[in-house]
């Protein structure tokens, strides 16, 4: 699907790509941002999900 979105951590710049998921923290490829648990943290700097914003 081509409408996967990317979100970027405002603190460290880490990018979460819905198409790829995040293997290390157990997020399967294709997982939508809103389906990631609220207590998920940036795998690189540890800040909360709320620090991410949609990349345009």
């Amino acid at each position: 699907m081509s409408d996967y979105k990317k979100y970027q951590c405002g603190v460290c710049g880490h990018i979460y790509d819905e198409a790829e998921g995040d293997e290390e923290t157990g997020i399967a490829p294709g997982t939508r941002w809103e389906d990631i648990p609220d207590d998920w943290r940036c795998p690189e700097c540890g800040v909360e999900k709320s620090e991410y914003s949609l990349m345009v």
Binding site: G10, V11, C12, G13, R41, P43, E44, C45, G46, V47, E48, E51
Partner: protein
């Protein structure tokens, strides 16, 4: 080849993990004074509003890093770098007193910068520069809360960290006064318009922001501490957040070239070609020290590739930005980093 890394912050650990992934045969030893594991420094300034912070701040335990093939000497200090025989001298919990290196990576980071007028009063204030500092602050705060007292804090310094900490303490219900020497907040990173917005956000969250403050010193008065400007004001505790000071002492003693940080070329190499420096302790030829996560990780990953022979071109700084973690604040303009 034996690669030794000093420091378990973002620079040291990012380098160690990347180098491990490139090079299965080489030995990697990371020596650190820390005992708590590899933790997130940005989260230190959320250390009061998050109840489980002392666990959740840990990104990886040292055992997890050991399991990935990195030797970790924790709770240990390097006392000297001997360049002539390429060894480091170690004290602390480890059995080994001296280790030989083929390549050495200094990633010791920085401590809090304490302006000279404040240095005689080091007993009277806290800093927030490490997990050990945060635990001490949380313990002190809990002591007051357990007596049903909401702490009264003074934060000295309205830069990025000072504003974040003031915000997080106020968000957690404490009384906070922020003293800043300049006429606007975070003047190094923000345009004037965003400084004004930040001022309003902090004031509305209950922080008393005082600009143009000439803090002359501190004093103890029974169980209170005082901040002396033109007037004297009492608080339960003070936090000094006036910037950072790279830990260059080891490099200096070893005779490496040192300016504000340890001087490196575009290959992150110090004046000794087998010794590198990474992160906010490294001063690039343009005089810059990179203190944010994205460029530090970039340096660390690049150096891992370079030492593994996969990278030929020198390191170039990536485009990056940052964001102050002040509750409810969103700058309208890009940060100056």
């Amino acid at each position: 080849m034996h690669v030794i890394i000093i420091g378990s912050g973002i620079a040291g650990v990012s380098f160690a993990e990347k180098f491990r992934s490139y090079s299965a045969g080489d030995e990697i030893t990371l020596i650190t004074r820390e005992n708590d594991g590899y933790y997130s420094r940005p989260l230190l300034s959320r250390g009061f509003s998050m109840n489980d912070i002392e666990q959740s701040i840990i990104l990886k335990t040292f055992d997890k890093l050991r399991a990935s093939g990195i030797n970790i000497n924790s709770g240990a200090e390097i006392t000297a770098i001997n360049r002539s025989d390429k060894t480091v001298a170690i004290t602390g919990s480890s059995q080994e007193k001296s280790l030989h290196f083929d390549k050495l990576v200094i990633a010791t980071g920085s401590s809090a910068f304490i302006p000279p007028p404040f240095r005689p009063y080091s007993e009277l204030f806290y800093c927030l520069n490490s997990l050990v500092d945060l635990k001490a602050l949380r313990k002190f705060r809990l002591g007051l809360l357990n007596q049903s007292r909401q702490p009264d804090w003074a934060i000295i310094g309205g830069g990025l960290i000072g504003c974040e900490v003031a915000s997080d303490l106020a968000f957690s219900g404490d009384n906070v006064t922020l003293f800043h020497a300049m006429d606007r907040l975070m003047e190094r990173q923000l345009v004037a318009e965003d400084s004004a917005l930040l001022f309003d956000v902090l004031q509305n969250s209950g922080v008393k922001v005082l600009l143009d403050q000439n803090v002359q010193g501190f004093a103890k008065q029974e169980n209170k501490v005082c901040v002396k400007t033109g007037v004297t004001t009492e608080f339960d505790a003070l936090i000094v957040s006036c910037g950072f000071k790279p830990r260059t002492e080891l490099a200096e003693q070893a005779g490496l070239e040192v300016g504000r940080g340890i001087k490196v070329n575009q290959y992150m190499q110090t004046s000794d070609e087998d010794i590198y420096a990474l992160g906010d302790v490294a001063e690039l030829p343009n005089g810059k020290l990179y203190a944010f996560i994205l460029p530090i990780r970039s340096q660390a990953h690049w150096l891992a590739g370079f030492i593994a022979g996969k990278e030929k071109e020198c390191w170039t700084p990536p485009v990056f930005t940052t964001r102050a973690k002040v509750h409810g604040f969103e700058a309208a303009h890009p940060y100056n980093v």
